[in-house]
Symmetry: C2
Subunit: 144 residues, 2 copies
């Protein structure tokens, strides 16, 4: 029987193609359908389905906006739960930066607004010990 | 045009369904096809394709083993690059633990072998400032 696993459960919410790129865009302040579509390259019908699923899962929420002369439309913002996906995005980014850059280098440096230095996703234990290169981990299975 | 992005590049390697669950299993020491198949629930033909792609991408490598009376077979181990995906897995796990547990609680606690306390994926900047709830980040686009 497949393992009971929070990774699998999270992938059931954000593992479909385009879902994490949508979260990326909204986290960057790109909130409108057309802009998200352009920045991700997702086919519009797929994007519609992804946005709906992410709203249903509580990752995104909608709010209305109205441009002069137009009817009200929805734009998308991250919920707190959506913002808590940032470590997933930055961990994916760090890996791509390390292993998949071309001669142009790292596409985006994510900086800490306060001090301006680069932000990364790292593993630490509750005692504050760093985990180097994913070594020295031990799974403690609670729900088989 | 879609954004140039290390997240998208990483998802091109590990974003297909089952790929990250395969990396999870191998990281847990589950190395043989049949065992990975059972622990993930991936259909065998899909698993074959995923394992091949992960080897080609340099995430997994193979080594031979032979059981008494059987021919040599391959088992899978993480490369260093594969082990560097652990922050992605733990970040996905943390989110599922926070948002998608049932009444049985957190399925697995990942512990630091050294001190036994729980390990999490967190965002920090190079100056050591913690990033709370994915707030206070600023993208610095280098390759448009």
């Amino acid at each position: 029987m497949p393992r009971t696993c929070s990774i699998a459960r999270t992938l059931a919410v954000v593992g479909e193609r385009w879902a994490l790129l949508v979260v990326r865009e909204v986290s960057l302040g790109v909130r409108r359908f057309r802009d998200i579509q352009e920045a991700t390259g997702a086919p519009p019908a797929v994007l519609t389905a992804r946005l709906r699923a992410l709203v249903e899962a509580g990752v995104l929420t909608t709010r209305d906006y109205r441009e002069p002369g137009s009817r009200a439309r929805s734009e998308y913002v991250l919920t707190d739960a959506g913002r808590e996906l940032l470590p997933v995005l930055i961990a994916l980014k760090d890996w791509g930066d390390a292993h998949l850059t071309d001669e142009r280098g790292v596409p985006v440096v994510t900086r800490h607004e306060g001090c301006g230095s680069a932000v990364h996703a790292v593993l630490v234990c509750d005692e504050g010990h760093p985990i180097e290169c994913g070594r020295g981990l031990r799974p403690d299975v609670r729900v088989p």
